[in-house]
Amino acid sequence: MSRTVPKDDSSDRQSTSAAPARLEQIVLAHGGGGELTDELIRSQILPRLGNEILNRLTDAATLELGGVRVAMTTDSYVVQPLFFPGGDIGRLAVCGTVNDLAMAGAEPVAISLALVLEEGLDGRTLERVLESIAAAAAEAKVQVVTGDTKVVEHGKAEGMYITTTGLGRLIDGVSLGHDQVRAGDVVLINGSIAEHGLAVLSQRKGLSFASDLLSDVAPLAELANDLVRRFDGVRLLRDPTRSGLSGVVADLAGSSGLSVEIDEKAVPLAPPARAAAELLGFDPLDVANEGKFVAVLAAQQADAALDLCRQHRFGGQAAIIGRVTDRQPPMAELLTVIGGRRIIQKPYGEELPRIC
Protein backbone atom coordinates (compact mmCIF):
# COMPACT_ATOMS: atom_id res chain seq x y z
CA MET A 1 0.00 0.00 0.00
CA SER A 2 1.49 3.30 -0.89
CA ARG A 3 -1.25 5.83 -0.38
CA THR A 4 -2.24 7.72 2.70
CA VAL A 5 -5.94 8.11 3.08
CA PRO A 6 -7.18 11.40 4.53
CA LYS A 7 -7.74 10.62 8.14
CA ASP A 8 -11.00 12.21 9.15
CA ASP A 9 -13.62 12.80 6.53
CA SER A 10 -15.73 15.10 8.63
CA SER A 11 -13.05 17.67 9.23
CA ASP A 12 -11.21 17.16 6.02
CA ARG A 13 -13.07 18.95 3.28
CA GLN A 14 -10.48 17.97 0.71
CA SER A 15 -11.48 14.34 0.53
CA THR A 16 -14.74 13.05 -0.79
CA SER A 17 -17.28 13.44 1.93
CA ALA A 18 -19.58 10.80 0.45
CA ALA A 19 -19.76 7.47 2.25
CA PRO A 20 -17.79 4.75 0.45
CA ALA A 21 -20.02 3.09 -2.15
CA ARG A 22 -20.69 -0.61 -2.17
CA LEU A 23 -18.10 -2.08 -4.45
CA GLU A 24 -19.96 -3.29 -7.51
CA GLN A 25 -17.13 -4.00 -9.82
CA ILE A 26 -13.46 -3.25 -10.24
CA VAL A 27 -12.62 -0.68 -12.87
CA LEU A 28 -9.21 0.37 -14.09
CA ALA A 29 -9.26 3.48 -11.98
CA HIS A 30 -9.21 1.36 -8.81
CA GLY A 31 -5.59 0.69 -9.63
CA GLY A 32 -4.72 4.27 -10.42
CA GLY A 33 -3.53 5.29 -6.99
CA GLY A 34 -6.05 8.10 -6.84
CA GLU A 35 -9.42 8.68 -5.20
CA LEU A 36 -10.83 5.35 -6.26
CA THR A 37 -7.88 3.39 -4.93
CA ASP A 38 -8.26 5.19 -1.63
CA GLU A 39 -11.90 4.26 -1.55
CA LEU A 40 -11.14 0.63 -2.26
CA ILE A 41 -8.68 0.51 0.59
CA ARG A 42 -11.02 2.34 2.96
CA SER A 43 -14.10 0.35 2.22
CA GLN A 44 -12.81 -3.12 1.41
CA ILE A 45 -9.33 -3.68 2.78
CA LEU A 46 -9.02 -1.86 6.06
CA PRO A 47 -12.28 -3.13 7.51
CA ARG A 48 -11.15 -6.71 6.99
CA LEU A 49 -7.38 -6.55 7.39
CA GLY A 50 -6.73 -3.40 9.36
CA ASN A 51 -4.34 -3.18 12.27
CA GLU A 52 -2.23 -0.46 13.86
CA ILE A 53 0.52 -0.74 11.27
CA LEU A 54 -1.60 -1.22 8.17
CA ASN A 55 -3.93 1.57 9.12
CA ARG A 56 -1.13 4.08 8.77
CA LEU A 57 -1.08 3.28 5.05
CA THR A 58 2.44 4.55 4.56
CA ASP A 59 4.59 3.83 1.50
CA ALA A 60 6.46 1.28 3.62
CA ALA A 61 5.43 -0.28 6.91
CA THR A 62 7.79 0.14 9.84
CA LEU A 63 8.16 -2.74 12.25
CA GLU A 64 10.42 -3.74 15.02
CA LEU A 65 12.02 -7.15 14.74
CA GLY A 66 14.09 -8.17 17.70
CA GLY A 67 15.03 -4.63 18.54
CA VAL A 68 15.87 -3.65 14.97
CA ARG A 69 13.59 -1.16 13.23
CA VAL A 70 12.86 -2.33 9.72
CA ALA A 71 10.79 -1.04 6.84
CA MET A 72 8.85 -3.34 4.56
CA THR A 73 7.09 -2.55 1.34
CA THR A 74 5.41 -4.38 -1.51
CA ASP A 75 4.51 -3.40 -5.03
CA SER A 76 3.28 -4.91 -8.25
CA TYR A 77 4.35 -3.80 -11.66
CA VAL A 78 1.96 -4.20 -14.57
CA VAL A 79 3.24 -1.47 -16.85
CA GLN A 80 2.58 -1.68 -20.58
CA PRO A 81 4.63 -1.72 -22.73
CA LEU A 82 7.39 -3.60 -20.89
CA PHE A 83 10.06 -1.37 -22.42
CA PHE A 84 9.44 2.33 -22.59
CA PRO A 85 11.63 5.35 -23.28
CA GLY A 86 14.01 5.73 -20.35
CA GLY A 87 13.33 2.38 -18.71
CA ASP A 88 11.53 -0.91 -18.47
CA ILE A 89 9.48 -2.98 -16.07
CA GLY A 90 12.58 -4.41 -14.44
CA ARG A 91 14.20 -1.10 -13.62
CA LEU A 92 10.85 0.24 -12.53
CA ALA A 93 10.38 -2.69 -10.14
CA VAL A 94 13.72 -2.21 -8.43
CA CYS A 95 13.54 1.57 -8.24
CA GLY A 96 9.92 1.68 -7.14
CA THR A 97 10.59 -0.73 -4.30
CA VAL A 98 13.78 0.91 -3.18
CA ASN A 99 12.15 4.34 -3.32
CA ASP A 100 9.25 3.26 -1.13
CA LEU A 101 11.75 2.13 1.51
CA ALA A 102 13.65 5.37 1.19
CA MET A 103 10.42 7.32 1.72
CA ALA A 104 10.08 5.61 5.09
CA GLY A 105 13.54 6.78 6.06
CA ALA A 106 15.04 3.35 5.56
CA GLU A 107 18.22 2.15 3.92
CA PRO A 108 17.17 -0.53 1.40
CA VAL A 109 18.80 -3.88 2.03
CA ALA A 110 17.05 -6.59 0.08
CA ILE A 111 14.24 -7.22 -2.33
CA SER A 112 12.27 -10.26 -3.36
CA LEU A 113 11.23 -10.78 -6.94
CA ALA A 114 8.11 -12.67 -7.99
CA LEU A 115 7.64 -13.09 -11.71
CA VAL A 116 4.40 -13.98 -13.43
CA LEU A 117 5.28 -14.75 -17.03
CA GLU A 118 2.99 -15.19 -19.96
CA GLU A 119 3.26 -18.42 -21.89
CA GLY A 120 4.97 -17.58 -25.19
CA LEU A 121 7.01 -14.70 -23.78
CA ASP A 122 10.10 -14.29 -25.88
CA GLY A 123 13.21 -15.55 -24.10
CA ARG A 124 15.18 -12.53 -25.13
CA THR A 125 12.59 -10.24 -23.50
CA LEU A 126 13.00 -12.02 -20.18
CA GLU A 127 16.78 -11.80 -20.48
CA ARG A 128 16.63 -8.07 -21.10
CA VAL A 129 14.35 -7.51 -18.13
CA LEU A 130 16.53 -9.58 -15.82
CA GLU A 131 19.65 -7.76 -16.98
CA SER A 132 17.90 -4.51 -16.27
CA ILE A 133 16.93 -5.70 -12.79
CA ALA A 134 20.52 -6.69 -12.11
CA ALA A 135 21.82 -3.32 -13.24
CA ALA A 136 19.23 -1.41 -11.24
CA ALA A 137 19.88 -3.48 -8.13
CA ALA A 138 23.59 -2.81 -8.39
CA GLU A 139 22.95 0.89 -8.86
CA ALA A 140 20.58 0.94 -5.90
CA LYS A 141 22.95 -1.18 -3.82
CA VAL A 142 20.39 -3.84 -3.00
CA GLN A 143 20.33 -7.55 -3.56
CA VAL A 144 17.55 -9.73 -4.86
CA VAL A 145 17.57 -12.35 -2.13
CA THR A 146 14.59 -14.50 -2.95
CA GLY A 147 12.04 -14.91 -5.65
CA ASP A 148 9.41 -16.92 -7.38
CA THR A 149 8.41 -17.70 -10.93
CA LYS A 150 5.02 -18.64 -12.30
CA VAL A 151 3.83 -18.99 -15.87
CA VAL A 152 0.26 -18.38 -16.96
CA GLU A 153 -1.45 -19.19 -20.21
CA HIS A 154 -0.98 -17.21 -23.33
CA GLY A 155 -3.22 -14.16 -23.28
CA LYS A 156 -2.78 -13.48 -19.59
CA ALA A 157 -0.16 -11.32 -17.87
CA GLU A 158 0.52 -9.26 -21.00
CA GLY A 159 4.10 -10.51 -21.21
CA MET A 160 4.91 -10.33 -17.55
CA TYR A 161 3.90 -8.94 -14.21
CA ILE A 162 6.40 -8.40 -11.41
CA THR A 163 5.74 -8.22 -7.68
CA THR A 164 8.40 -7.23 -5.20
CA THR A 165 8.83 -6.96 -1.50
CA GLY A 166 11.46 -4.66 -0.16
CA LEU A 167 13.17 -4.73 3.22
CA GLY A 168 15.24 -1.94 4.68
CA ARG A 169 16.83 -0.78 7.89
CA LEU A 170 15.37 2.39 9.37
CA ILE A 171 17.97 5.04 9.83
CA ASP A 172 18.58 5.76 13.50
CA GLY A 173 16.70 8.63 14.97
CA VAL A 174 14.56 9.10 11.89
CA SER A 175 10.83 9.30 12.31
CA LEU A 176 8.94 10.49 9.28
CA GLY A 177 5.23 10.92 8.88
CA HIS A 178 2.36 13.30 8.29
CA ASP A 179 2.11 13.80 12.02
CA GLN A 180 5.61 15.35 12.03
CA VAL A 181 4.68 18.14 9.66
CA ARG A 182 4.44 21.63 11.13
CA ALA A 183 3.23 24.99 9.93
CA GLY A 184 6.13 26.92 8.45
CA ASP A 185 7.74 23.84 6.90
CA VAL A 186 8.69 23.97 3.24
CA VAL A 187 7.99 21.54 0.42
CA LEU A 188 10.88 20.43 -1.76
CA ILE A 189 11.00 18.27 -4.87
CA ASN A 190 14.16 16.85 -6.41
CA GLY A 191 13.39 17.66 -10.02
CA SER A 192 10.98 18.04 -12.91
CA ILE A 193 7.59 16.36 -13.03
CA ALA A 194 5.28 14.49 -15.37
CA GLU A 195 7.88 12.66 -17.41
CA HIS A 196 7.31 9.01 -16.56
CA GLY A 197 3.57 8.90 -17.08
CA LEU A 198 3.70 10.77 -20.36
CA ALA A 199 6.67 8.78 -21.68
CA VAL A 200 4.81 5.54 -21.05
CA LEU A 201 1.60 6.88 -22.53
CA SER A 202 3.40 7.89 -25.69
CA GLN A 203 4.09 4.22 -26.29
CA ARG A 204 0.54 3.09 -25.85
CA LYS A 205 -0.84 1.33 -28.90
CA GLY A 206 -3.50 3.28 -30.66
CA LEU A 207 -2.49 6.68 -29.38
CA SER A 208 -1.15 8.54 -32.38
CA PHE A 209 1.36 10.43 -30.34
CA ALA A 210 5.12 9.94 -30.09
CA SER A 211 7.49 11.73 -27.81
CA ASP A 212 11.12 12.37 -26.96
CA LEU A 213 10.17 12.22 -23.32
CA LEU A 214 12.05 9.75 -21.16
CA SER A 215 10.80 8.17 -17.99
CA ASP A 216 12.58 9.62 -14.99
CA VAL A 217 12.72 6.23 -13.27
CA ALA A 218 15.63 6.29 -10.83
CA PRO A 219 16.73 4.84 -7.47
CA LEU A 220 16.49 7.62 -4.92
CA ALA A 221 17.62 5.92 -1.70
CA GLU A 222 21.12 7.29 -1.74
CA LEU A 223 19.94 10.90 -1.97
CA ALA A 224 16.92 10.45 0.29
CA ASN A 225 18.92 8.62 2.95
CA ASP A 226 21.57 11.32 2.85
CA LEU A 227 18.95 13.98 3.28
CA VAL A 228 17.44 12.43 6.41
CA ARG A 229 20.85 11.69 7.93
CA ARG A 230 22.07 15.23 7.56
CA PHE A 231 18.90 17.14 8.23
CA ASP A 232 16.94 16.31 11.34
CA GLY A 233 14.26 18.72 10.18
CA VAL A 234 12.98 16.41 7.44
CA ARG A 235 9.42 15.58 8.44
CA LEU A 236 8.12 13.54 5.57
CA LEU A 237 9.15 11.97 2.28
CA ARG A 238 6.67 10.85 -0.37
CA ASP A 239 7.19 9.77 -3.93
CA PRO A 240 4.63 11.21 -6.38
CA THR A 241 4.05 8.05 -8.41
CA ARG A 242 0.52 7.27 -9.59
CA SER A 243 -1.73 10.30 -8.92
CA GLY A 244 1.31 12.51 -9.26
CA LEU A 245 2.30 15.56 -7.28
CA SER A 246 -1.40 16.36 -6.81
CA GLY A 247 -1.89 13.12 -4.90
CA VAL A 248 1.04 13.75 -2.54
CA VAL A 249 0.05 17.34 -1.86
CA ALA A 250 -3.63 16.53 -1.37
CA ASP A 251 -2.66 13.76 1.06
CA LEU A 252 -0.33 16.13 2.87
CA ALA A 253 -3.16 18.55 3.61
CA GLY A 254 -5.62 15.77 4.29
CA SER A 255 -3.45 13.82 6.70
CA SER A 256 -1.50 16.48 8.49
CA GLY A 257 -4.48 18.65 9.36
CA LEU A 258 -2.54 21.61 7.98
CA SER A 259 -2.72 23.52 4.72
CA VAL A 260 -0.25 23.39 1.86
CA GLU A 261 0.42 26.07 -0.71
CA ILE A 262 2.32 25.18 -3.84
CA ASP A 263 3.79 27.82 -6.13
CA GLU A 264 3.11 26.71 -9.69
CA LYS A 265 5.96 28.84 -11.02
CA ALA A 266 8.40 26.99 -8.83
CA VAL A 267 7.41 23.49 -9.87
CA PRO A 268 10.03 22.22 -12.33
CA LEU A 269 8.37 21.18 -15.56
CA ALA A 270 10.30 20.72 -18.77
CA PRO A 271 8.74 22.10 -21.97
CA PRO A 272 8.39 18.68 -23.64
CA ALA A 273 6.44 17.37 -20.65
CA ARG A 274 4.32 20.47 -20.49
CA ALA A 275 3.53 20.25 -24.20
CA ALA A 276 2.72 16.55 -24.03
CA ALA A 277 0.38 17.14 -21.09
CA GLU A 278 -1.36 19.94 -22.97
CA LEU A 279 -1.66 17.85 -26.11
CA LEU A 280 -3.41 15.11 -24.19
CA GLY A 281 -5.42 17.36 -21.90
CA PHE A 282 -3.72 16.32 -18.67
CA ASP A 283 -2.77 18.40 -15.70
CA PRO A 284 1.01 17.78 -15.25
CA LEU A 285 0.46 17.76 -11.50
CA ASP A 286 -1.61 14.58 -11.92
CA VAL A 287 0.96 12.60 -13.93
CA ALA A 288 3.06 9.77 -12.49
CA ASN A 289 6.74 10.22 -11.64
CA GLU A 290 9.19 7.42 -10.86
CA GLY A 291 12.37 9.28 -10.06
CA LYS A 292 11.06 11.99 -7.79
CA PHE A 293 10.39 12.53 -4.14
CA VAL A 294 8.71 15.31 -2.25
CA ALA A 295 10.27 16.27 1.07
CA VAL A 296 8.63 18.36 3.75
CA LEU A 297 11.23 19.90 6.01
CA ALA A 298 11.96 22.68 8.45
CA ALA A 299 12.33 26.00 6.70
CA GLN A 300 15.72 26.78 8.28
CA GLN A 301 17.23 23.72 6.66
CA ALA A 302 15.67 24.25 3.24
CA ASP A 303 18.53 26.01 1.49
CA ALA A 304 21.14 23.54 2.68
CA ALA A 305 18.91 20.61 1.75
CA LEU A 306 18.40 22.11 -1.68
CA ASP A 307 22.16 22.41 -2.16
CA LEU A 308 22.61 18.77 -1.19
CA CYS A 309 20.01 17.67 -3.72
CA ARG A 310 21.39 19.80 -6.51
CA GLN A 311 24.79 18.21 -6.18
CA HIS A 312 23.34 14.75 -6.70
CA ARG A 313 22.76 13.29 -10.15
CA PHE A 314 19.07 12.79 -9.34
CA GLY A 315 18.56 16.22 -7.84
CA GLY A 316 19.99 18.71 -10.31
CA GLN A 317 16.67 20.44 -10.86
CA ALA A 318 15.59 20.33 -7.22
CA ALA A 319 13.43 23.20 -6.05
CA ILE A 320 11.48 24.49 -3.09
CA ILE A 321 7.95 24.49 -4.41
CA GLY A 322 5.73 25.35 -1.50
CA ARG A 323 5.08 25.65 2.17
CA VAL A 324 2.88 24.41 4.95
CA THR A 325 0.60 26.82 6.78
CA ASP A 326 -1.80 26.54 9.67
CA ARG A 327 -4.69 27.88 7.65
CA GLN A 328 -7.92 26.10 8.47
CA PRO A 329 -9.74 24.18 7.20
CA PRO A 330 -6.84 22.13 5.80
CA MET A 331 -6.53 22.83 2.12
CA ALA A 332 -4.04 22.12 -0.61
CA GLU A 333 -3.85 25.12 -2.89
CA LEU A 334 -1.96 26.06 -5.96
CA LEU A 335 -0.78 29.60 -6.42
CA THR A 336 -1.07 29.69 -10.20
CA VAL A 337 1.36 31.26 -12.64
CA ILE A 338 -0.94 34.25 -12.96
CA GLY A 339 -1.27 34.73 -9.22
CA GLY A 340 -4.64 33.08 -8.95
CA ARG A 341 -5.50 30.36 -6.47
CA ARG A 342 -7.12 27.02 -6.92
CA ILE A 343 -7.44 23.76 -5.02
CA ILE A 344 -5.15 20.78 -5.62
CA GLN A 345 -7.11 17.58 -5.53
CA LYS A 346 -6.25 13.93 -5.80
CA PRO A 347 -7.06 12.66 -9.28
CA TYR A 348 -9.76 10.04 -9.89
CA GLY A 349 -7.34 7.33 -10.90
CA GLU A 350 -7.58 6.91 -14.63
CA GLU A 351 -6.56 10.00 -16.47
CA LEU A 352 -8.04 9.79 -19.92
CA PRO A 353 -6.74 11.83 -22.83
CA ARG A 354 -9.34 14.32 -23.85
CA ILE A 355 -9.97 16.48 -26.89
CA CYS A 356 -12.47 18.86 -25.39
Binding site: S192, S202, S208, F209, A210, S211, D212, L213, E261, D263, K265, A266, V267, P268, L269, P271, P272, R274, A275, A276, E278, L279, G281, Q317, A318, A319, I320, I321, G322, R323, L335, R354, I355, C356
Partner: protein, 84 residues
Amino acid sequence: MCLALPARVEHTDQETALVQMQGNRMEICTVLVGSISPGEWVLVHAGFAIAKIDAQEAAETWEILTEAAAELAGDEPATEDQPK
Protein backbone atom coordinates in the same frame (compact mmCIF):
# COMPACT_ATOMS: atom_id res chain seq x y z
CA MET B 1 -14.13 22.72 -25.93
CA CYS B 2 -11.71 22.40 -27.43
CA LEU B 3 -8.14 21.51 -26.83
CA ALA B 4 -5.92 22.66 -29.64
CA LEU B 5 -2.23 23.37 -29.66
CA PRO B 6 0.16 25.03 -32.05
CA ALA B 7 2.65 22.66 -33.62
CA ARG B 8 5.41 22.93 -36.14
CA VAL B 9 5.20 20.97 -39.38
CA GLU B 10 8.13 18.60 -39.85
CA HIS B 11 7.11 16.54 -42.90
CA THR B 12 4.13 16.49 -45.18
CA ASP B 13 2.71 13.66 -47.27
CA GLN B 14 -0.39 14.37 -49.34
CA GLU B 15 -3.15 14.72 -46.78
CA THR B 16 -1.11 14.14 -43.66
CA ALA B 17 1.75 15.79 -41.90
CA LEU B 18 4.08 14.99 -39.06
CA VAL B 19 4.06 17.86 -36.60
CA GLN B 20 6.03 18.39 -33.47
CA MET B 21 5.54 20.36 -30.30
CA GLN B 22 8.53 20.52 -27.95
CA GLY B 23 9.71 17.02 -28.81
CA ASN B 24 6.25 15.46 -29.04
CA ARG B 25 5.13 14.28 -32.43
CA MET B 26 1.79 13.55 -33.97
CA GLU B 27 0.68 12.52 -37.37
CA ILE B 28 -2.19 14.77 -38.33
CA CYS B 29 -4.56 15.28 -41.22
CA THR B 30 -4.18 18.50 -43.20
CA VAL B 31 -7.26 18.52 -45.41
CA LEU B 32 -8.86 21.31 -43.42
CA VAL B 33 -6.03 23.76 -44.07
CA GLY B 34 -4.93 22.87 -47.58
CA SER B 35 -1.29 22.70 -48.53
CA ILE B 36 1.31 23.35 -45.88
CA SER B 37 5.11 23.09 -45.84
CA PRO B 38 7.71 21.98 -43.35
CA GLY B 39 8.57 24.83 -41.04
CA GLU B 40 5.07 26.24 -41.02
CA TRP B 41 2.94 26.21 -37.90
CA VAL B 42 -0.59 24.87 -37.54
CA LEU B 43 -3.22 24.67 -34.82
CA VAL B 44 -3.95 21.01 -34.08
CA HIS B 45 -7.20 19.65 -32.66
CA ALA B 46 -8.08 15.96 -32.35
CA GLY B 47 -5.50 14.95 -34.92
CA PHE B 48 -6.41 17.58 -37.50
CA ALA B 49 -4.84 20.89 -38.44
CA ILE B 50 -7.68 23.40 -38.19
CA ALA B 51 -5.79 26.62 -38.92
CA LYS B 52 -2.41 27.87 -40.08
CA ILE B 53 -0.48 30.11 -37.73
CA ASP B 54 2.14 32.70 -38.38
CA ALA B 55 5.29 31.53 -36.58
CA GLN B 56 6.02 34.87 -34.98
CA GLU B 57 2.47 35.25 -33.75
CA ALA B 58 2.55 31.71 -32.41
CA ALA B 59 5.55 32.56 -30.28
CA GLU B 60 3.78 35.63 -28.96
CA THR B 61 0.46 33.98 -28.27
CA TRP B 62 1.22 30.70 -26.61
CA GLU B 63 3.08 30.85 -23.31
CA ILE B 64 4.46 27.37 -23.75
CA LEU B 65 6.34 28.54 -26.82
CA THR B 66 7.65 31.72 -25.25
CA GLU B 67 8.72 29.79 -22.15
CA ALA B 68 10.50 27.17 -24.17
CA ALA B 69 12.22 29.81 -26.26
CA ALA B 70 13.29 31.61 -23.08
CA GLU B 71 14.76 28.44 -21.66
CA LEU B 72 16.71 27.78 -24.81
CA ALA B 73 18.00 31.32 -24.74
CA GLY B 74 19.37 30.58 -21.28
CA ASP B 75 16.99 32.72 -19.26
CA GLU B 76 16.61 31.81 -15.64
CA PRO B 77 14.45 28.70 -15.43
CA ALA B 78 11.35 28.67 -13.23
CA THR B 79 13.05 26.27 -10.82
CA GLU B 80 15.06 29.12 -9.35
CA ASP B 81 11.96 30.87 -8.09
CA GLN B 82 11.13 30.53 -4.46
CA PRO B 83 7.71 31.11 -2.97
CA LYS B 84 7.57 34.30 -1.01
